[in-house]
Symmetry: C2
Subunit: 436 residues, 2 copies
């Protein structure tokens, strides 16, 4: 047999079976929020109505939409009468499902508790809400016979939560680690391509990835909330009580990009939840300098990427657009069409606890000081240095592996002398001039 | 605020909630097959019993195992009495779920029809069975009120089917494309590292990836079956009627590796299902020569990788170990613990049909002939040539974009003159010496 002899010629066209099932059931939905995500969901439901009817036998009807200004004209295929700005009217609506896409915790929390408390299924894209109140909301729902789904809260379109949930019957992961914020990753990519920070931010806003204030994206808060949710799903730890060690990219993200480039790598804001002792997990969000050819360095623009280590030959990985209206709306729709709630089993039932990170990593430590001053500061800490670079009062070192805790006095001393200290984890195989 | 000031110190240890739910329900399982995959499932169920009980409130009991030799000693935590080699006794067992992990279509088909026909849920890792009879089995199950799940049939541990299913409510993908066979990818990786083919095959067997005869892995048949299942889930086309254009890596995989290396790329056996006309899809499995730095080239050893194009900025991608006992068993367990069947909506309901591939690609065409002869053969076809290389009666060209159909006379002529023709798709940005 030759390699090509097995090719099969395609026969004459043959119609696939076309019997379209007629929608047999209507799902009545109340939607909170009609911005980037909510609006995208409305449009997606409209454009996919036939496919949804054929494939799932259901018709999704949006009967009420909560917005700030009910009279504002919106580019969505809905009649004007469905809009309301009255939260009480909104939560009183008798529906099958409430979809929450307004973000924040205040009004969103009122809506979530009202829905779950009277037994109505809640689907949310709101990572702050789930991170801060997910466990209690799920408990409230269990009592009332309603469920909480939040696949859209992490990863945008990337099936992070469902992938983790699929692994729930097995031994827990060794680690879950990834890029969970599309906006900051987009900004880093633009900085790498030569933009300055204001330009990069403006481009992210223009692309519909960010609001005017994206502090929570850039300082790692958004990532930390998502990581807490990941830890909840993977390790059963109540996300509201989970400590997350967090270093963000502010105030000057371009410095991270510059130092990473000097070291021959790229910086990525990486979230990690890892089993570091038998029953202990550590959660960290921090800039990590990774090799140029690594999968994380190659995760660009608004893409997210999550790797799940299971102790096999390689990790499971999922990646794709992690921000933006259409990707997040797709994830909401996926939860909405799931024949059963997916998150009934998210209650904290395992014996994992959060512990201090005992692991040693190499660190980039930078400050607006001379190399001599920086080295002297580190010398007192006893942390060995691997390499040092300096230019005109802006110096950075890469340390040999050291625990996070050992680094704290150094950072405190640099901060006290107004040296604008900056720290990132370094995961490069070999870095710079070796001083050992 | 400095970048590090936002770091949160981890407080004193605090026990997470430990209330373990007691298993409230027993799932009685009959398992067909106790080889690499079946045995791994038994071990996984044993080691994860506590986690399953706590997390899902269920206890999984394996009450019967079908094997060829019931008296053979096996390294699995099961009492000897559960084994049987009697298919009739096996199918008569009254259980909640039948898990089929024996492969092939004959006995597996009998077991599947018996289970689904009397209303028992079937979970299978058997891609041949699902590709050849999935639609009729699903229909049989629907009539009897039972469901068919087959997440483990594609991708090993990689959540290919569940990711595609999650997208079902939206408009169908533009394309699904990926590496779906871990064994052949492992062999290609070993060849790239300098092994010869027998060594690479032996290593794959030793790793538990392949049986002694891995013709179906290497000739693309296994990949084609998985692609048909992917097309069923994504586009609703009955997989048993779906034509798949297929080029394998046999008889001499090392030739592909050698030519790809000469062109500065790597060869991967890639399966693709793409919408090429409004309602038409094309399914192909073929060696593709991809750039060294591409995600597919970087998918090594037994990893699988699937990309789903949705018309967004980038594709969704899932990757990870795609072969081996533990990864596949994890996928079976995931289906087993899913609170509801996942595949109730896999009936062919959309109007997609399979059509000939109208797209033009660059092709590598090689033969054991002189460059002059190869060029003359191509010249008669009218397909323009981009580059040519030759060494001692072994020549290969890269064509300019041409449709697959236009290539067939060339291949036929080369085969007729015993030139061992070989064809691969080329996806390199610029290849070799330009002859235009």
């Amino acid at each position: 047999m030759t390699a090509v002899a097995s090719a099969v010629t395609i026969p004459a066209r043959e119609r696939a079976v076309q019997a379209r099932a007629l929608p047999t059931r209507t799902i009545r939905v109340a939607l909170a929020g009609c911005g980037v995500v909510g609006g995208a969901l409305v449009r997606l439901l409209h454009s996919s109505a036939d496919a949804i009817g054929a494939r799932h036998g259901v018709r999704v009807e949006i009967v009420r939409v909560l917005v700030r200004d009910a009279r504002r004209k919106r580019d969505v295929p809905l009649r004007a009468g469905v809009f309301t700005s009255d939260v009480e009217q909104f939560v009183a609506e008798d529906v099958d499902v409430v979809v929450e896409a307004i973000g924040g915790s205040d009004v969103a929390g009122v809506i979530a508790r009202a829905a779950l408390g009277r037994g109505t299924r809640l689907i949310t894209a709101n990572k702050e809400l789930v991170a801060s109140a997910g466990a209690s909301l799920a408990a409230l729902g269990r009592t009332a016979g309603a469920t909480l789904d939040f696949g859209a809260a992490v990863g945008g379109s990337v099936p992070v939560i469902s992938t983790l949930r699929d692994l729930l019957g097995t031994l827990p992961p060794v680690y879950v680690r990834g890029i969970l914020n599309g906006t900051s990753n987009y900004v880093l990519s633009q900085l790498e391509r030569g933009s300055d920070y204001p330009e990069a931010l403006a481009a992210a806003c223009h692309r519909g990835l960010a609001e005017a204030d994206c502090t929570r994206d850039m300082d790692g808060s958004d990532t930390a909330a998502k990581l807490a949710i990941v830890a909840w799903v993977s390790f059963g730890v109540d996300p509201s009580t989970l400590p997350v060690r967090r270093i963000g990219l502010l105030p000057e993200p371009a410095r991270f990009v510059r130092y990473a480039s000097a070291l021959g790598g790229r910086v990525r804001l990486i979230a990690e939840c890892a089993r570091v002792t038998d029953g202990g997990i550590t959660c960290v969000v921090e800039p990590v300098i990774v090799p140029l050819e690594s999968s994380f360095a190659r995760t660009e623009l608004e893409d997210n990427r999550v790797e799940v280590g299971l102790g096999w030959s390689g990790p499971l990985a999922v990646s794709g657009p992690g921000a933006g209206g259409a990707p997040t709306a797709t994830s909401l729709l996926s939860d909405l069409l799931s024949p059963v709630p997916r998150t009934a089993d998210s209650s904290p039932t395992r014996a994992f606890e959060a512990v201090d990170d005992p692991r040693a990593h190499s660190w980039l430590v930078a400050g607006r000081v001379s190399a001599r001053t920086l080295l002297r500061t580190l010398d007192t800490s006893g942390i060995p240095i691997q390499s040092v670079r300096a230019s005109a009062g802006d110096s950075h070192v890469v340390t040999r592996p050291a625990a996070w805790a050992a680094l704290q006095p150094v950072i405190a001393e640099l901060a006290a002398s107004n040296a604008d200290p900056l720290v990132a984890r370094v995961e490069l195989p070999a870095v710079g001039r070796d001083l050992s």
